[in-house]
């Protein structure tokens, strides 16, 4: 798929996100909007995945969302890439919905392989899936997306240490570096320091994507990461994004981490996002 087409999809995914969060007046638009290009690039271009969802995911690339609160972007991308009908996006966070506030497996939503929400666990789960692929002689890759604030959880560092020590070379972790968390900037709350140096010192290969909201850069970055897995090491993408990207009043602030736009704000947001593929 060409870059302009992927950009079109991204625009529609952004509309889905703000409409979903607005409809239920809850959810996390900020981080969701920032990760749109990355997830669209993965699901529509880079990952090989089967149309029929199968929990074991043998002989296909797998994706794990560790920072489960950005479920709106994942649900939209899953629906738009054919895992389930886009009309189901209407049910986000409602009672009896398969689209739980944070991703869950209990309701059997196609595309979800693990519950996430309590932070710090997804990278370890992804490593487990990598180990299973190795035992099954399955050469496909495992992707895991974490938030940057999430790296304050100690378990992430256990997983980083394990992946290098045990030569997990079928894993691409991505850190969404939007530099914001609920109470403020990551710098103010608990500085992550030089993440590139830290993760490199844990034995990982690093790909830095300077503009994670620019489709061409994202595609190139993912290509480089896939190439680097041949070094027989785990690979980490540092994805620089802007929280709230695409909606001017939500951008660059932690304030839109977890609140929904009101009716008026929704109209302003939708005016900035072209309906490219048709709303759900």
């Amino acid at each position: 798929m060409k870059t302009p087409e992927l950009e079109k999809i991204s625009c529609q995914v952004r509309r889905d996100i703000v409409r979903m969060v607005h409809a239920v007046q809850s959810g996390h638009p900020g981080g969701s909007l920032g990760c749109v290009e990355f997830l669209v690039a993965l699901f529509f271009e880079k990952m090989t995945h089967k149309n029929e969802f199968n929990m074991d995911g043998e002989n296909e690339d797998l994706f794990f969302l560790s920072n489960g609160h950005i479920s709106p972007v994942l649900y939209s991308v899953l629906a738009r890439s054919g895992y389930f009908n886009i009309n189901e996006l209407k049910t986000f966070r409602n009672i009896d919905s398969r689209l739980q506030g944070h991703p869950a497996t209990k309701e059997k939503l196609p595309g979800i392989r693990i519950a996430s929400g309590s932070l710090g666990q997804g990278l370890s789960v992804a490593i487990g899936a990598c180990e299973a692929k190795k035992l099954n002689k399955d050469t496909k890759l495992v992707y895991c997306l974490c938030g940057d604030g999430e790296l304050q959880e100690g378990q992430i560092w256990e997983a980083l240490m394990y992946a290098n020590a045990k030569k997990i070379d079928n894993l691409i972790m991505t850190v969404d570096l939007n530099k914001q968390q609920i109470c403020g900037s990551t710098e103010e709350i608990l500085s992550l320091g030089d993440l590139n140096k830290k993760i490199t010192s844990f034995g990982w290969e690093i790909v830095e994507i300077e503009d994670g909201n620019e489709m061409y850069s994202v595609l190139n970055g993912i290509n480089s990461a896939i190439e680097l897995t041949k070094q027989k090491k785990p690979v980490c993408i540092l994805l620089n994004t802007q929280m709230g990207f695409g909606v001017d009043f939500m951008m660059g602030s932690h304030k839109w981490h977890g609140i929904a736009p009101n009716d008026e704000q929704l109209e302003i947001a939708l005016d900035q996002l072209e309906e490219t593929l048709g709303d759900y």
């Binding site: 929400g117 666990q121 487990g128 378990q155 997983a159």
Partner: protein, 314 residues
Amino acid sequence: MKKIELKDTRSGFGAGLLELGKANPNVVALCADLTGSLKMDAFEKEFPERFFQVGIAEANMMSIAAGLTIGGKIPFTGTFANFSTGRVFDQIRQSIAYSGKNVKICASHAGITLGEDGATHQILEDIGLMKMLPGMTVINTCDYNQTKQATIAIADHIGPVYLRFGRPKVPNFTPKNQPFIIGKGIKLKDGIDVSIFATGHLVWEAIEAAKKLKEKNVSAEIINITTIKPLDKKIILDSVKKTKCAVTAEEHQKLGGLGGSIAQLLSEEMPCPMEMIAVNDKFGESGKPNLLMKKYKLDSTNILKACEKVLLRK
């Protein structure tokens, strides 16, 4: 009389795991730097490619185990009961129980019989933590043979399981090849005056107590509750229907343990006088296991006293 051999339950786990490794290529094992203590060495030696030494990182181990199920593996995690539950409750809750993953959490050194290491390691809250999780099966075995059979049985059960066993050598009295049926209690002795429901190391103490009761012309029925969740309601209700009173015995806190589960069942279905042998809202301490069991009133003498007391309340 034939002398009963003493064996540790954890060795039963190690033996069961080795058999499983041979029988089922999807069985994998993970350990957090306690291979020797968990008796997982034989599995590690025989199946190195299916053994994952994760180091001292239990949270990582539980979540990796959850991930291994995606791809059809049946992971068995091994560490002390304290580090298998309390330390990693959230990982178990979200990535294993809520996600419905087929992980077998195998926990040694449970309870006060861990002995000299003291209260930091003597978890007495693990049954409570695990039984509260929706969909979690909770098993506490009483001897080597039963632990081996339970280890083999849980591989065929689809869903998360907590298998609890211990450190010390205890009488190995259950039949060698008695198949382990998840959710089924085992009646060890018929009786008409009082029902004793025991689990884990306390099952042997219950047998000893029943012998002393017999000398006093009290006929005790002994039921080994191997599975705390799901509870074998039928065997419990059938027994209490006959005896009209119950004593529970476990190496765990009174709050949140087997006694609580049985009290809940009986209060709903068949209220009767009941006494509980368990640790009453206390942490343990260092000491020889047998002395600790006496001090914390987890022995046959105290089961006997509880039976006498409950009989007076009938």
